[in-house]
């Protein structure tokens, strides 16, 4: 069981939750309020859902391209901005909301195609290709909102990020659906195999007949779409679109979640469930910091150590070196080879 890739991330998540429980005994308390559940755990799931969704998309990008998608934050902002702008001009009916949401999602797919085009067809390095959209996308979202915050009050739209279904926040269901789709697409069709092979060795995969360009297009499109969904949840949760700040630094958190979940940045094998756990760890950590009242000045230091500890615990070499602390001062080359063979 210790061998399973989810073992250490899950252990850490539990440790974090237990720590919270010790700190504030009613951390696990969940109450019923106005027909929906209310409590810290629910908050973690609710606020963590956009990150979970973006991370799922990011997982596929990292796995297939050995690169990252830096533009997710901007796409988050753009989709929220488009949806809110259209809703603020619309008549507030359900149809107009659906149209607005649809437009936002479609736009994000176009943006994904753009990223995919730059990486797969032009052959740009992923980080630069997506940096272009990261920079200019932020500009586009501000252009859409004219640099202001668009506030809307539309119950249909609000449902996406702040509504509840079966007493649970609706956003959790969106996460479940996105995860399920990603899971089915990659594990029940051959797509997962193709992503892993392209990510591991592009030349060899191409010679084996894998359509690596199509795979890259797909992962960028999917990642953009995920980012857009996250953007809708975020903006709907606060009933407003903030072109300037929505999704700022999201790319870093998403990448962090992916890596904590066990997927290597060097591409190849990926673990969707691990990514979800990674995102939950990050969100729980954030909530913990707020709950126990860490002063903002040292928040970053705390975060730095926690991230390092999570990764150290996952590192086999570290665990071994703890186990025989003084016996093995040397690290045989074997492990290095295993890592990079």
């Amino acid at each position: 069981m210790v061998k399973h890739h989810l073992f250490w991330p899950l252990t850490f998540l539990c440790a974090l939750l237990v720590f919270n429980l010790i700190y504030s005994p009613d951390f696990f308390a969940i109450k019923m309020r106005d027909g929906h559940l209310y409590g810290s755990l629910i908050d973690i799931l609710n606020f963590g859902s956009p990150l979970m969704i973006v991370s799922i998309g990011m997982t596929l990008v990292i796995a297939a391209t050995k690169g990252v998608d830096l533009s997710v934050g901007s796409v988050v902002a753009i989709s929220g901005a488009i949806a809110c702008l259209m809703i603020s001009h619309g008549d507030g009916s359900l149809v107009s909301v659906v149209i607005a949401v649809g437009t936002a999602l479609l736009t994000s797919i176009v943006l994904g195609v753009w990223n995919g085009f730059l990486v797969a067809n032009i052959g740009m390095q992923p980080i630069i290709a997506t940096l272009i959209l990261m920079v200019s996308g932020r500009g586009v979202s501000q252009l859409i909102t004219s640099g202001q915050i668009i506030t809307i009050s539309n119950p249909h739209y609000k449902f996406i990020g702040a509504g509840s279904l079966l007493t649970l926040p609706f956003s959790i269901f969106i996460v479940a659906i996105v995860f399920l789709i990603a899971y089915l697409l990659t594990r029940k069709t051959a797509l997962g195999l193709f992503i892993e092979s392209v990510g591991c060795k592009p030349t060899a995969s191409k010679l084996a007949g894998v359509k690596s360009k199509t795979v890259m297009f797909f992962v960028y499109m999917f990642c953009s779409l995920c980012a857009a969904i996250a953007g809708l949840i975020l903006s709907s949760n606060v009933s407003s679109a903030d072109g300037n700040n929505a999704g700022l630094w999201y790319e870093l958190d998403a990448i962090l979640a992916v890596v904590i979940g066990g997927t290597a940045l060097t591409g190849g094998r990926f673990y969707l469930a691990g990514t979800l756990v990674g995102a939950l760890i990050i969100q729980t950590l954030t909530t913990t910091i707020y709950m126990i009242g860490v002063p903002p000045e040292i928040t970053l230091v705390v975060k730095a150590f926690v991230v390092l500890i999570v990764c150290l615990i996952q590192s086999e070499s570290f665990r071994k070196s703890i186990a025989f602390r003084w016996k093995t001062r040397h690290y045989p080359a074997e492990r290095e080879v295993k890592q990079h063979a």
Binding site: G139, V140, V259, L265, P296, V301, L308, C311, S317, F318
Partner: protein, 320 residues
């Protein structure tokens, strides 16, 4: 002797010249030595950081902590100098701290086999957090040495001038070039980026090289921090926010592959210059709103990379 692998560099330089020429035709006051000098003055710290970053990226890693280390350096320098420490002690000390910080990250990366991205991300949080622990306010430096270095103008013909930081930055670029091409450490860095496994099997000191690379990057960031301190005459926890992306972008624009093994210090130099020119053009244009600024930066970057690729033909940026 013109070699195939030098074409991308030449193309990059050519495009830089082209952009500068376009700027000169379009805007009055653009075509002058001083604008060129300002590019160097205003980007000296970025240049220094990017040289360190080039080594890291060539070795197949990445260093996200550079911006924070710069901020930390300004913060430590400012607080110590204001507390009355002599600059002659403070500067070597912060350089040492930077190098040790980098070395520490390198050691974790090497011994515990954790992705550089994550380790240096923690480093980024940590260094930034340490700044806030020192103070969340800005600390102004009014030390005579710092102000005189900051305001010394190196006169050039025609009323133009450069700053001491420019000299430092150019020295670092030269040093980086020398180290990359004429020392074992430099060549080992390239080998490491080509294939870590092969380097190991060829009997290269993989671990030591790796730690040295991150130490060097940390040292460069700290040096950039010193230059930044000259530039700003203050320490502040929010200084150099997001600089890591600028540095990475400069390195990659200069033709270095993020997957490692291929890279050019000269390319990095022009990568920084190109980013500077794009910014200068936008400032000279002076009619763009905040959002259009961002969009245009993206578009210019895009056009540049497309041209660079078209002109240097067969995908040199192709990932293997």
């Amino acid at each position: 002797m013109l070699k195939k692998q030098h074409i991308p560099i030449l193309v990059t330089i050519g495009l830089f010249v082209l952009m500068f020429a376009i700027g000169s035709f379009r805007y009055t006051g653009f075509f002058s030595l001083q604008v060129l000098m300002n590019l160097l003055i205003d980007n000296a710290f970025l240049l220094i950081t990017a040289v360190g970053m080039t080594f890291v990226i060539v070795s197949g890693g990445i260093d996200l902590s550079v911006g924070s280390v710069i901020a930390l350096t300004t913060m430590i320098s400012a607080s110590l100098v204001q507390a009355g420490w002599p600059p002659g002690l403070v500067i070597p000390m912060v350089l040492l701290i930077g190098a040790l910080f980098g070395w520490g990250m390198g050691a974790i990366i090497h011994y515990f086999k954790i992705e550089p991205f994550i380790v240096t991300l923690s480093g980024m949080f940590l260094a930034r957090g340490l700044c806030y622990i020192i103070s969340i306010n800005t600390i102004t430096i009014d030390n005579a040495f710092y102000t005189s270095v900051a305001q010394t103008k190196i006169r050039l013909p025609g009323g133009n001038f450069a700053s001491i930081s420019v000299i430092i930055a150019l020295l670092v670029v030269f040093l980086g070039f020398y180290i990359a091409h004429y020392t074992r450490f430099g060549r080992n860095t390239y080998a490491l980026g080509g294939s870590e496994q092969s380097s190991l099997l060829m009997g290269l000191p993989v671990g030591r090289t790796k730690m040295l690379i991150y130490a060097f990057s940390g040292f460069c960031s700290a040096l950039a921090g010193v230059v930044f301190t000259f530039y700003m005459l203050s320490g502040y926890g929010l200084h150099a926010m997001g600089m890591e992306l600028d540095a990475i972008a400069a390195v990659v624009i200069g033709g270095t592959l993020l997957t490692g093994g291929v890279g050019y210090i000269v390319g990095t130099f022009f990568g920084v210059m190109i980013q500077g020119v794009i910014q200068t053009i936008i400032s000279f244009e002076g009619t763009l709103s905040s959002w259009w600024t961002k969009i245009v930066i993206g578009v210019l970057l895009f056009m540049f990379i497309i041209l660079q690729r078209l002109l240097s033909q067969r995908g040199w940026a192709q990932r293997r």
